[in-house]
C-alpha cells in the first residue's frame, strides 16, 4: 500500500509507466473530496496529485488560466476574484454533502467530475470551459489535447472527452480553463408558495423570457428553510437569479416581476444574500445532514422532472428539490434504500436522463450501479474508449462500471 505524491508532471508519468508495466491498479485522487462518489476503487496504490500544484498561467485579458491538476480550487477562485473574474460554471462543492469540509477539491477533480453549479443553464459545466489538458494515459504516455485559446477545433476535443471520466481514462497533469468576468451584481427573485408543477411552469416562463435568468431552482415546502440560514422560512420557494450590470439587473427584474405577477407572492434577495443562497443550492445543503441516507443527483428534461418526482413519491419516501429549471433533481431516499431500479425505470418513462447515486453507505456503493447504466451499444463504445486510453485497466478501475471502467 503506497501513496505516490509526485510534484512534477514527469514523476506522474513515471509512476503510471511503472504501474502499467506491473499492471498495478492506481487510485487517482487530488484532495479526495469526492472519494465517496462512485464505486469503491480496488487499488493497492494511490496516485495522490495534491502536491502537483500551482497556477502556471493567468492572463485576465485573455480570459485564460492554466494550473497543475492538483491546484486547490479555492486558490484558483481566490486568484480570479482579484481580477473580478471567476469560473463561470461555479463548480459545486461536494464536501458538506459527503460529510467533509467546505472548500476542498482540486482543479483536476473539477474536470474529472465535470462539475457545474446553478449557472449550468446559461454558462455550462466544466466541459464547456476546459480549453486544454496535459495528461498521462493508462498506457503510460504523456499527451496533450486542445490549447490555450478559447476558439479551437484542431483535432478531437479530448479535453471534453475526459470531462466526467472520474480518473478512469487518464491522470491529468495540467488543465487550462476559460475564465470570465464575474457579474457586477445579482438579485434573486423568490416566488413563494408554488407547488412543484406550478413552479416548473413559472421557471419555464422565466427561462423563456428575455430577462436572461441565469439560474432557476425550486425548493419545496420544508426544504426552503434549510438554505441560507433559514431566511426563506419553510414555505415553498421558487428562485430566479438575475445577474449583470446594475441597471440591467434592475430592469430585467422588473420585467420578470411583471411576467410572473399572477404566480404568487414575491420577495427579492440582494447581492451577498443571493450569493449565499445559490451557494447552498449548489452544494446540496438541504441534504447535508451528516447522515448516509442515499442521495441521488438526476439530470432530466426540465419540464417533466416534477411529474417524475410525483410518480416516485407514490413508490418511495423521498425528499426532493430542483435546480436547472427543474432539470437537476436532488433526491434523498428517506427509508435508507437507494431504490435504484424504481428511480431508473421512472426516468425512462419521463423522457430520459440519468441518475447518479452521489451519497450512500459503503455497502450500498459496492452493490449498486452508481452511474446510469448505458444501453448495450453505447456501453460497448464506452468500454472500447476506456480500453484505448487504459488497456490494462489500471486507472481507477471499477469506479464507474463494475469490473471495468
Amino acid at each position: 500500500m503506497t501513496t505516490f505524491t509526485p510534484a512534477i508532471p514527469e514523476d506522474v508519468l513515471s509512476v503510471v509507466q511503472w504501474a502499467a508495466g506491473e499492471e498495478m491498479p492506481l487510485e487517482i485522487c487530488g484532495h479526495g473530496s469526492k472519494r465517496g462518489i462512485g464505486r469503491p476503487v480496488q487499488a493497492e496504490h494511490t496516485l495522490d496529485l495534491s502536491q502537483l500544484s500551482g497556477v502556471t498561467l493567468y492572463e485576465p485579458a485573455e480570459l485564460v488560466l492554466s494550473a497543475r491538476a492538483g491546484t486547490p480550487l479555492a486558490e484558483i477562485e481566490t486568484l480570479l476574484k482579484l481580477s473580478n473574474q471567476e469560473l463561470a460554471f461555479e463548480p459545486l462543492d461536494y464536501g458538506p454533502l459527503l460529510g467533509g469540509e467546505r472548500g476542498r477539491g482540486t482543479i483536476g477533480g473539477v474536470l474529472a467530475a465535470n462539475l457545474a453549479g446553478p449557472r449550468r443553464l446559461k454558462a455550462g459545466a466544466a466541459r464547456d470551459h476546459i480549453l486544454g489538458i496535459s495528461a498521462v494515459s493508462g498506457r503510460g504516455e504523456a499527451f496533450k489535447a486542445g490549447g490555450r485559446v478559447v476558439k479551437n477545433v484542431t483535432g478531437y476535443d479530448l479535453s471534453k472527452g475526459v470531462a466526467g471520466s472520474w480518473g478512469t481514462l487518464a491522470a491529468f497533469t495540467d488543465v487550462t480553463f476559460k475564465v470570465l468576468p464575474a457579474a457586477e451584481t445579482e438579485t434573486t427573485l423568490v416566488v413563494r408558495g408554488l407547488l412543484d408543477d406550478l413552479a416548473a411552469a413559472a421557471m419555464a416562463v422565466a427561462m423563456g423570457s428575455s430577462a436572461e435568468v441565469s439560474s432557476a431552482a425550486h425548493l419545496p415546502e420544508g426544504i426552503a428553510k434549510t438554505v441560507a440560514d433559514g431566511i426563506l422560512g419553510s414555505e415553498p420557494a421558487t428562485l430566479l437569479r438575475v445577474e449583470g450590470f446594475g441597471p440591467s439587473v434592475a430592469y430585467r427584474l422588473g420585467h420578470l416581476k411583471q411576467l410572473l405577477a399572477a404566480a404568487g407572492e414575491m420577495q427579492e434577495l440582494e447581492h451577498e444574500t443571493s450569493k449565499a443562497l445559490w451557494r447552498d443550492v449548489r452544494d446540496c445543503i438541504p441534504f447535508a445532514d451528516g447522515s448516509d441516507l442515499p442521495v441521488w443527483r438526476l439530470s432530466l428534461a426540465p419540464a417533466s422532472a416534477h411529474a417524475f418526482v410525483l410518480a416516485l413519491r407514490m413508490r418511495a419516501a423521498v425528499s426532493a428539490f430542483y435546480d436547472w429549471q427543474g432539470g437537476l433533481v436532488w433526491l434523498r431516499m428517506e427509508a435508507g434504500e437507494p431504490e435504484a431500479e424504481t428511480v431508473r425505470t421512472l426516468i425512462k418513462q419521463f423522457g430520459g436522463g440519468h441518475a447518479t447515486l452521489v451519497r450512500a453507505s459503503m455497502p450500498v456503493r459496492a452493490s449498486t450501479d452508481i452511474f446510469e447504466p448505458q444501453p448495450p451499444a453505447l456501453a460497448a463504445l464506452s468500454a472500447r474508449l476506456k480500453a484505448e486510453f487504459d488497456p490494462k485497466n489500471i486507472l481507477n478501475p471499477g469506479r464507474i462500471v463494475a469490473g471495468a471502467h
Binding site: P6, S14, E23, Q51, V150, K151, G155, A301, A377, L381
Partner: protein, 498 residues
C-alpha cells in the same frame, strides 16, 4: 491538387463498383442513388474548391435504418464512406474519395420537435443552421451559433465541425449549444448521446463527437438549445491608427467585465476592399477598424455603449460611431459580412485561413504576416474575431498564374505555423479536414496524435469513415493498440511517497 496525398484507392472496391451501386439501390430505393458522372459532379468538392474528386457513388438516404444499413454494408466489405451535409466545409472535410461511398444527409431535412418549455429543438441533421432559427423565431427564439454560411450549412455539419460564428464569444460554439444527438456508428449500430437533459451519464462522447469532422459516426438527429432573442442590439464602429491600439481596446473592454455579443476587427486592406464594395461609410484613414456589438435589454446596451466608447477614446480611437437605429447597425456589419466577396473583387482568387492566437500576440502576428506577404509577393487582408483571437487572413492570388496557388498555400501554412508559435492553434472554426491535415505535427507530437487516433479506433477500428482527413498519417489500430512497456525493467518509481 497541390501536393495533397489521399489514401490509395482500394482496387478491389473500384472493381466492384457496379455491384456496390446496385446494392445501394436496394438499400435506398427511388432517386436516392446517383452514379452518373454528371449527377455526381455536384458533389465533387465542398467549400474548399481547390480540391475536387468524384466519389465512387453518391447515396442520399432518407431514414436512420438506411444509414445504418449503408454503414454496416460498407463496414462488412471494407468500403470507405465519406459523410456530407450541405458541403460548405472550408477545409475539405467533405471531399470525396475515389473509392468511397458519399453519404449525403440533405434529405434529413425536417424539424422534428419544437419544445419551448425545455427550450430545445430536435431536428434532422440536414436542416440548415438558419432553418432552426426560422422554425422558432415567431415565438421570439433563435439558435445562437451563427457561422457565416448559416443560410446553407446543415446542423449535422455544424456538429461535425463544432461551428462557431461572430456571436460565439458570448453564446458559445456548437459544442456548448447541442444537448444531444443520435448517430450511426460505422458498424451500423445506432446510439443516442444526451437528449433534452444536460451532461452525460458516462464519458462525454457528445463532446468528442462535436468537431470530429465526420470521422467517428454519422449524425442522424440533433437536439439543440434555443434562446430568447435579445431585446435589442447596437453596435459601435471604432477606428484606430494602429492595430496595437485596437487590440488594447479589445483587451480593456474584456478587462472591464464586458463580453460583447460580437467583436470584429479588420485591417487596412480589408477595410478598403469592404468599403469599395458596400460603401458602409468605413473610415479609410485607419489601420484597424473595430465593430463592437452589444445586445440585451435596451438599458444594458445603452449603459455598455457608453462604457465601450470611453474605453475606445482612452485607447486613441480616431473615429467612433454608434448605431442609432437597426438600419445603421446593419450598415456597420454590411462591410464586415461582405469582406470575403469584397476581397474577391480586388483579387481573382483568395485563400481564407483560420488560425487562433492569444489576442495579445496580434501585433506580432500581423507584423509577421506583412513580412511573409513581401516574401511571397502576395497580398493579404485580415478579418479577425477579435474577442476570441480567431484570425481569418485572406491571401490574395491568381489561380491562373502557374504556381500561385502553391505559393498561396505555402504562405497560408507559414501563417498557421506563426499562430502555433505564439501559443495559438491551426484552426479556430473551419476544421482541419484535408487542408491543415499535414500541419497537425506543428501543434501535436506523435504521441498526442496517436492518442487521438486511438479514439478513432474505438469508433471505427478499420479507418473506413472519412479517411484521409484530420490525421497526416493513418496508423493501423492494431499497431496503435500495442503497449510499449517493459514489465519488470522499470524500477519502483522514485517518487515521494508515504
Amino acid at each position: 491538387m497541390s501536393g495533397l496525398v489521399m489514401p490509395k484507392p482500394d482496387a478491389a472496391t473500384l472493381a466492384r463498383r457496379a455491384e456496390i451501386v446496385a446494392d445501394m439501390r436496394i438499400i435506398v430505393p427511388g432517386e436516392g442513388v446517383v452514379d452518373a458522372v454528371n449527377g455526381m459532379r455536384a458533389f465533387e468538392s465542398d467549400g474548399l474548391t481547390a480540391y475536387r474528386q468524384l466519389p465512387l457513388v453518391v447515396v442520399l438516404p432518407e431514414t436512420v435504418a438506411q444509414v445504418s444499413r449503408i454503414l454496416k454494408y460498407c463496414n462488412d466489405r471494407n468500403i470507405r464512406v465519406v459523410p456530407r451535409g450541405s458541403g460548405t466545409s472550408l477545409s475539405g472535410g467533405a471531399l470525396p474519395l475515389e473509392d468511397a461511398v458519399l453519404v449525403v444527409m440533405s434529405r434529413f431535412n425536417r424539424v422534428l420537435e419544437i419544445d419551448y418549455p425545455n427550450r430545445v429543438v430536435v431536428a434532422q441533421p440536414g436542416v440548415t443552421n438558419l432553418g432552426i432559427t426560422h422554425a422558432v423565431e415567431q415565438e421570439g427564439f433563435y439558435y445562437a451559433p451563427d457561422p457565416s454560411s448559416q443560410i446553407a450549412c446543415s446542423i449535422g455539419g455544424n456538429v461535425a465541425e463544432n461551428s462557431g460564428g461572430v456571436h460565439c464569444l458570448k453564446y458559445g460554439l456548437t459544442a456548448n449549444n447541442v444537448l444531444g444527438i443520435e448517430m450511426v456508428l460505422m458498424n451500423g449500430e445506432v446510439v443516442r448521446l444526451g437528449g433534452k437533459h444536460l451532461d452525460a451519464e458516462g464519458y462525454d462522447l457528445l463532446g468528442i463527437m462535436t468537431g470530429s469532422e465526420g470521422l467517428l459516426g454519422v449524425v442522424t438527429e440533433v437536439t439543440v438549445r434555443i434562446l430568447k432573442k435579445p431585446e435589442t442590439a447596437r453596435a459601435l464602429l471604432i477606428g484606430f491608427p494602429t492595430s496595437e491600439e485596437g487590440g488594447q481596446c479589445v483587451a480593456d473592454i474584456i478587462a472591464a467585465g464586458i463580453i460583447p455579443g460580437g467583436m470584429e476587427m479588420m485591417d487596412r486592406p480589408a477595410i478598403h476592399a469592404a468599403e469599395a464594395f458596400v460603401h458602409a461609410g468605413y473610415p479609410l484613414d485607419v489601420e484597424a477598424l473595430l465593430i463592437v456589438e452589444l445586445d440585451g435589454p435596451g438599458v444594458e446596451v445603452d449603459h455598455l455603449i457608453s462604457a465601450v466608447e470611453a474605453i475606445a477614446l482612452r485607447n486613441g480611437s480616431t473615429t467612433c460611431r454608434i448605431s442609432q437605429n437597426e438600419q445603421e447597425r446593419m450598415t456597420f456589419w454590411a462591410g464586415r459580412k461582405a469582406a470575403f466577396p469584397a476581397v474577391g473583387r480586388i483579387s481573382p482568387d483568395y485563400y481564407c485561413m483560420d488560425g487562433t492566437i492569444p489576442r495579445k500576440e496580434l501585433p506580432r502576428v500581423l507584423a509577421g504576416m506583412r513580412s511573409l506577404s513581401e516574401q511571397y509577393g502576395l497580398g493579404v487582408a485580415n478579418v479577425f474575431h477579435a474577442g476570441d483571437g480567431n484570425l481569418h487572413p485572406l491571401i490574395l492570388y491568381d489561380a491562373n498564374v502557374p504556381g500561385e496557388l502553391d505559393k498561396a498555400e505555402a504562405f497560408g501554412s507559414d501563417i498557421l505555423r506563426l499562430c502555433v508559435e505564439v501559443g495559438g492553434v491551426l484552426t479556430g472554426e473551419h476544421g482541419v479536414g484535408v487542408e491543415k491535415r499535414d500541419l497537425m505535427p506543428e501543434m501535436f507530437s506523435q504521441t498526442d496524435l496517436d492518442q487521438q487516433m486511438r479514439v478513432k479506433c474505438a469508433f471505427d477500428p478499420n479507418h473506413l469513415l472519412n479517411p484521409g482527413k484530420v490525421f497526416p498519417q493513418l496508423r493501423r489500430c492494431a499497431e496503435l493498440g500495442r503497449m510499449h512497456v517493459h514489465a519488470g525493467q522499470l524500477a519502483f518509481p522514485d517518487i515521494p511517497r508515504f
